[in-house]
Symmetry: C2
Subunit: 202 residues, 2 copies
Amino acid sequence: MMPTDRPGDLFDRLRENILAKISLGEDEFRAGAAYFTPRNIARRAFLLQAGEVCRDIAFVCQGCLRYYTIDEKGSEHVIQFAIEGWWIADLYSYHAEAPSDGYIDALEDSELLLLSRENLENLCLSIPAFERFFRLLIQNSFVAYRKRVAESLSNSAEVRYLTFLETYPELVHRLPQHQIASWLGITPEALSRIRNKIARRK
Amino acid sequence: MMPTDRPGDLFDRLRENILAKISLGEDEFRAGAAYFTPRNIARRAFLLQAGEVCRDIAFVCQGCLRYYTIDEKGSEHVIQFAIEGWWIADLYSYHAEAPSDGYIDALEDSELLLLSRENLENLCLSIPAFERFFRLLIQNSFVAYRKRVAESLSNSAEVRYLTFLETYPELVHRLPQHQIASWLGITPEALSRIRNKIARRK
DNA sequence: CGCGACGTTGATTTGCCTCAACGATTGTGG
DNA sequence: CCACAATCGTTGAGGCAAATCAACGTCGCG
């Protein structure tokens, strides 16, 4: 079904997300939305596995996904979470068409809008405002990762956890603790003790 | 002096850097180069200090700079180095026109080409190929930071140092060891012991 | 020359990991 | 619908990597 045929709830969230960064007429938005492909994905299912080329950028309409890597000892390391209103992909693999070194899977049943590389290309050509949107999107992601590097160089696990609580309050009660621990770069046991310590202080 | 008046050595490196990513006629390049301002900076001098707004992106023609933050205990943490052919700025501050939380200073006497925000804007408007160039630049930086996050989550200081050696061999003999230690997120003493250990192994 | 910057080495401490065991909850197949 | 397994969070004991604190040698430079 064409998005122009119905102002579907799926696309409402995309519209909101895009209009927050750039200004765009409803006609242009609908034309742009046509480049996206809706897709549902079940909890624990993979959107991307290491070795594959990342074919799509995913916009999360509903649900929760993560991008993570596995090291040579077999441990998972969460690089990114994505809930409603977030974008997720392995951008390196996506643009270079090179095999990804990580995995994207769903932590909850999720509804996505996918944008393939060819469609992104055409979308940006036909509606230049989208070029600007995606530049801003990458720019913001870049800044976020740089902050994370600075944070991890400067602070203890406890401080990093407190920063996480402040920065992503909507994630705290939604993610299993061991996933948060992985994102922080510590073990679940360590996070448990940190939480215990913080609770005792109050 | 206009860059069109002489094919100055300063701009040679910029040309090389840009042509490596996009294709551009010599006329367009010269027109673009006119938006840049040459600037020399002495060792230990600041290009940016915390609290200031980052006014320029710097392209390094010659020399070496670093971007770093200072935590509440007064310790420095190097986020990025930049030698010839690299770009450096606090992009967040630059685009948001918000006060920076870090410092950029010169580790060696350096020659730079500066690009202000207004000039970047005009440059991209007048020569669209530059818009693409800077998008690619940010994209690559983004990917590099993401790799660094993954690396720091997965590996010990020793492995991270070995990765640094492989990834930036041109930096190893040029930077003081305590700067490398700071970039790795360890103390100079720890790096000294790691180097000692590696040397003994061989 | 003398001072500051830099790298090294040693002794001690500490933050986090590892391994192990244990409840609580969830989910699933018989 | 229950029984059993798997998942998740917690707690304890012991170990290790890196921090901290301190001392010292070397070099380069004003």
